[in-house]
């Protein structure tokens, strides 16, 4: 039985979907904001450039008609009428001195340039167009870029608000989608866990029509139908074999019983051995099919172990062995009482058989549950412990080693059915080391 730890919230598909949704929304918002920012800011700068070019054109035209004096006059008029305070002009003479304008000094380079305004209080950046005039004069027409920067910061602010709102919406949407996915998946997981426990008639909820989960659920249900049909067929075959073979064997045994003499007795004993092996094989097969899980109930392990210990105490005493118990009270587990009792009986039988004469066999139970059965016999060499394990599961080996092998195969099958891990270890550091079989949930 595989116990699933409850899914951690960050490992759920729902969380991943939400995260992906968020990331994509964030990316989309950033892209949109970036493009908007870039286009708006470029458009605003182009507008300013166009205004500068228009102003420069008008001033140059004035210069062609009336010379630098005319330009200077025009500049003064423009400065006087500029209410926004964003227009800057400089007309400098051949010596570089200012003839007109509201700029102190500026590099005399032709074409577009950006420059800082020298006033310490103003961080504005100036976009300027320099044009050399005849006779060493130079005209610079500029505009403050502050409105553009202002626009840009407004754009960034707006993008922040829009982006934040989009992220919140995405988070909400993702959570809604994620939660529904998680809920459906959890429903399926619960139903399939029941199937795993042996309740083969459990089915998933599938709404007619429905989404991909419903289609998946229908497909899983169809598979479970097949599985249940196969199991039913298997059980039918097992029953038929049991019935068809056991009945004539029982008849044979009855006929042999009615005969007299040692040969007849030996034949009855042989018949019993066949029936016993046959019953053990059927039982192991039945256990391994997991069908008995459906009949699990709460088993008082303390009581079962006490019964088994009590049952075998006198058998141990006949070999001079002490059968000791160290049982924690109130330890229970979900299981099949008869199978657990038989498993424990097989282990105790083995311990008594292989334990030292006059020695001791110890049965212990700890909460968990953890069951140990220890003897003080020759034990098993470390190199062979894993091999013994493997032999637990192999029917062929079990057959060839007679009853004992089937007993151990049954122990392994019962332990696995109950989700108990079986380990073999030396019971002590002394010599002989003895053997301790540990069964742990």
């Amino acid at each position: 039985m595989h116990k699933e730890t409850p899914a951690r919230w960050w490992a759920t598909t729902g969380f991943r979907i939400t995260l992906l949704h968020l990331a994509l929304t964030l990316l989309g918002t950033l892209l949109l904001a970036g493009i908007g920012f870039w286009a708006s800011s470029r458009f605003a700068v182009q507008q300013i450039q166009a205004e500068i070019e228009r102003d420069a054109g008008v001033l140059l035209n004035a210069g062609r008609l009336g010379g630098p004096a005319s330009i200077a006059l025009s500049i003064e008029a423009r400065i006087a009428s500029d209410r926004s305070g964003t227009q800057y002009f400089l007309l400098s003479g051949p010596d570089g001195g200012r003839i007109a304008g509201n700029l102190a000094a500026a590099p005399r380079s032709a074409g577009w340039a950006t420059m800082g305004l020298d006033a310490a209080t103003d961080e504005s950046v100036l976009l300027a167009l320099g044009t050399p005039l005849p006779a060493g004069h130079f005209l610079l027409v500029g505009r403050d870029l502050a409105p553009v920067r202002d626009l840009e910061s407004r754009l960034i602010g707006a993008a922040g608000w829009v982006g934040g709102a989009a992220l919140l919406l995405a988070l909400g949407g993702g959570l809604v989608i994620g939660r529904s996915v998680v809920r459906r998946a959890a429903q399926m997981e619960r139903a399939l866990a029941e199937v795993e426990q042996g309740r083969l008639n459990t089915r998933l909820v599938a709404r007619p029509g429905g989404d991909e989960f419903d289609r998946l659920a229908r497909r899983v249900n169809a598979t479970l139908d097949r599985l249940a049909a196969t199991m039913a067929a298997l059980r039918q075959v097992t029953d038929d074999i049991a019935h068809d073979l056991r009945t004539p064997l029982t008849r044979l045994r009855q006929r042999l019983e009615s005969l007299e003499g040692p040969e007849a007795e030996a034949a009855v004993a042989e018949c019993d051995r066949i029936l016993e092996i046959f019953a053990a094989l059927l039982r192991i097969a039945q256990i391994e099919s997991g069908a008995r899980r459906a009949a699990f109930s709460n088993v008082d392990l303390h009581a079962v172990m006490e019964t088994v210990a009590e049952l075998y105490a006198s058998a141990a005493a006949e070999r001079g062995q002490a059968l000791e118990t160290d049982l924690a009270p109130g330890v229970t587990m979900q299981g099949d009482r008869d199978l657990l009792a038989q498993m424990l009986a097989n282990l105790v039988e083995n311990a008594i058989r292989h334990g030292r004469e006059g020695g001791r066999v110890v049965l212990a139970l700890r909460p968990g549950p953890e069951i140990t059965v220890a003897d003080d016999g020759p034990g098993i060499p470390d190199t062979e412990k894993p091999l013994v394990f493997r032999r637990f599961h192999r029917l062929d080996a079990a057959r060839s080693t007679q009853g004992a092998g089937l007993g151990l195969a049954l122990v392994a099958a019962v332990a696995e059915l109950h989700g108990l891990a079986v380990t073999l270890e030396d019971a002590s550091a002394a010599s002989p080391p003895g053997l301790r079989v540990r069964l742990k949930a």
Binding site: D239, A242, P248, R292, S314, G403
Partner: protein, 223 residues
Amino acid sequence: MRILLVEDDAGTAAEVARGLTGAGHLVNHVPDGRAGLMEAIGGGYDLLVVDRMLPGLDGLGVIRALRAAGVATPALMLTARAGLGDRVEGLDAGADDYLAKPFAFAELLARVHALGRRPPLNAEPSLLRVADLEMDLLRRSVTRGGQRIDLQPREFRLLEVLLRQAGRVVTRNMLLEQVWDIHFDPRTSVVETHISRLRAKLGEPSLIHTMRGAGYVARAPDA
């Protein structure tokens, strides 16, 4: 006893019928569930031996129908399936005992006798006696020849089961079921060791006798 045997396998039926007749019982055999129900519903039998797997109406159905009709004749169910669930289902349906195939005939006979003479529930005896051995179920005490014998609770239960069936064979499996609630056959002869300890405590001459291949019987030494 008049016993109705409901078994579809002719061979098994013949062997069982022969054995039960040999033990002094009157046996009537029917091969299917429907006929078995019709036969048993009159209530003229002391015991029903019903196979679980029958053509048509199965053994469970027969016993359920009988109990529903108010027929309380004790029933022993035979089955090739002996899982825990099967046993519980059988007993729930109203069977009084459950025996898995294959079985030794002695086992069947012992259970038939145990069922056939089971006292009515309201007439539980409080004192069980064999020869000079007395068990007082109310005081939970055992005496032999007036001498008190101390028994462990499990030994007391073992002796009780044997004394309740005094004079009749009680098989190893019946003891395992009724004393330890163990429903499988341990390979080690654990029951034998418990019996010998009990014998030793009860003293000579022994009142618990071993019936080879069958089980144990509690009775006076000379009987």
